[in-house]
Amino acid sequence: MEYSSLLFIYVFFPVSLGIFYVTPKKLRESVLLLLSAVFCGLFGLRYLALLAVYILLNYALALAAGHLRSRKKAAAYFPFAAGVTFDIFALFAFRTEHFSWLYSALGLHRGFFAVGISLFTLSALGYLVDVYDGRIKAEKNIVRYSLFIMMFPRLLMGPVLRYDAFTRIMDKRRTGSQELGTGLTLFIKGLAKKVLAADTLYALYSAVHTVDKGSLSAVSAWLGAVSYILCLYFSLSGVADMGAGIASCFGFRFPQSFSYPMFSTRIRFFAAKWHTQVIHWFRSYITKPFASHIKSQLIRKLIFIGAWTIAGFWYGFSAGGAVFGALMGTAIVVENRLRKSKMLKATGIIYTLIIVTVLSVFLAEGSLAGSMRYLFAMIGGNRLLTDSMTLYLLRSYLVVLLISMYASTDLFRNMLVRSRRRVLRRIFSAVTPAVMLVLLALCTALISADGSSAVQLLRL
């Protein structure tokens, strides 16, 4: 069940919200866990069972590691290492196709996907590391730890949080009409991103990708690449916003994962605003621990690029993903070296967009060879600048593309924030409920035929 499905929006969400609000405050976390179990159970009981085993094992191993560590015993390393090995194994087992024997052994069909495994594995690994390092104490409350892994507003797109940050948010739970209003606004904003923007851009992206790369014109190839990165942004941030909105309705204020990264003026700004908590996780648990003891600038930069390579690989579990990450890391390093260049200052948004778009080809294509052929088409290697298809795509999608580009920036928000005219803000506040209703109705109309918006560029 996706957040952007009629079943979720019109049945599961209002029913679970109702149950949550009528439950005494003391029991609300347990009820939330129960609701999360139902949410996960709709993906299949086998998935729920796997999740239960995953949680119990991590919980027990972290508890053991924490207990042994508090007694300063070196044996704490063993449960820690076992936990890390298990988590990484699970990630590879369910995100690559090399473990068919495991699927057979567990009675899973080939199309099975452990929803959210990439995200909750990062959470579980981070928690294990923090417990082993003594940064936090191992959680004894199984309900709360289970929510940390499988709480349904976080399951599909995070945010990936450190355990202490998660518990702070859980402790500061605040429910009421304010939170409901904020949450529903955020949810509908995310829904619109997913259904109105991402699904439409996906149509443009897939139209370009039906064409043989050997006969693709340069402008069409650029249109395909730009639509892919925008689609990826709206798709991921849409689901993240929906999750954060749902959490807010339940009284939990999770940080937002995407902060208008498109059209950043630097690549490093793009990187800082894109899937913030995930990128932060790789910095906290890979770059920092390895680089902090090293003085050589060159090796530190190589570690930085290595962490980006792993992050890129994490996205796609493909060689293309790793290349995307490695090149992104390299681009940031190079940009930092050229930070004072006047040329960079003048062309900030343009070069950032070009580099991000070009690199995204490695994420989009299934193989490195395919990526290279696509890039060849982008630079005009097919000796075709435009063709009838380009004109058709431009005629059909230019307006959508321009609106999407505008919507991916923070220009509108900044206009409101910086505006000194109270009238403008008041008008915006007055029309917000109506705008939300219209957006919800539009999205409902668009998903009513199939019941959900099922377009997924990346399954995390």
């Binding site: 209002p14 709709l42 009981l45 058709y392 059909s396 506040s429 668009l446 035929a449 019941g451």
Partner: protein, 372 residues
Amino acid sequence: MKGIKNKLTAVAVLTFIVFFGAASAAGALFPDEGEDTVIPEITWDNISDGTLGRRLTEGIAERFAFRETWVSAGSRIDSGISGNIVGGVYISPERLIAADVAQRPDTADCAAAVNEFAENYDGIVYFAAVPTSAGVYGDMLPSPLDRVTEKQQTDRLYEQLSSDIRRVDAYNLMKMLSDDRIYLRSDSKWTMYGAYCLYRTVIQKLGFQPVSFDKYTVRHVTDEYRGDLYSRTLYMKNEPDILDIYEYQDGASVTACTGFGNDGSEHECSLYDISAVGSEDMYRLYLGERLPLMKISTDVNNDRRLLLIGSECAAGFVPFLTQHYSEIAVILPEYADRPLDSYIDPDDYEQTLFLFGIDAVKKENLNLTETR
């Protein structure tokens, strides 16, 4: 102000969600008389592999309150913002055209099945692959969508058929007549007039002179037909189609029409089933309920017998054939669950005509020798 805004948003959105959620849940839990429930059966397999969740998603979509209005509105929005393509169907002002060309299957297995039939058959085999509206009006599709044409697919199939099989060039004929009303606007299938146009060519190949058009009385049975392409888009802006029936008052008439079910049961049938008008599947106006085998006897005294093996488009073709044969057996393999020879002995018929929509040329539809 911000507080009021949030409260108003919460009230408005929650009211909207609860209203439509409750109405949809009521529709799903208490379906109208004659409608099936959309709550899937709860079994261990359903729950364990996630099928239950998927079926519930589909079920709620099926019974969503005011579904038709929502889907129709969705089509309009979709066609407005994404290049006029909704659910794999291209919406043009004149007609709807299937645009999901990538799904067209390979023809080699189908040709092999027909070749095998012809090899073991004593009579003459004819094959007519009928283009869909997407094949004839494919040039209306935006160029990036018009990739593998039905012409190429038909040519490939005809190349793979054995030389003993006589081919009918339906594609070029229909393409030539594309300015006439030969295809429905909201469906991938042809009109009765389209069927008549092909009949004129086919019947000459089969050794007869066609009945001229002016001898038929054309009756409009309904002008409210919306076909399979409409069902995929629910796009209301285009006019619905007219369904006709062709009657030859002074011609041969049908003396008996019997359908046979997979369980051996016999059903009385007719060339035109007027009761289908107004039903969910109005195209069943032609030949009525779909059965694997139908035998049609006429008062034509020439003792000529034809075996017609076909797809859905054959239904509109049969009325024209009744003027030339004393008996016609119609096999619709799509509805059969066992080998062809368990229904009929093909050698009892001196001619066999395969009449398939090119979109129906699939291995499963042409599997004539195996139990399904």
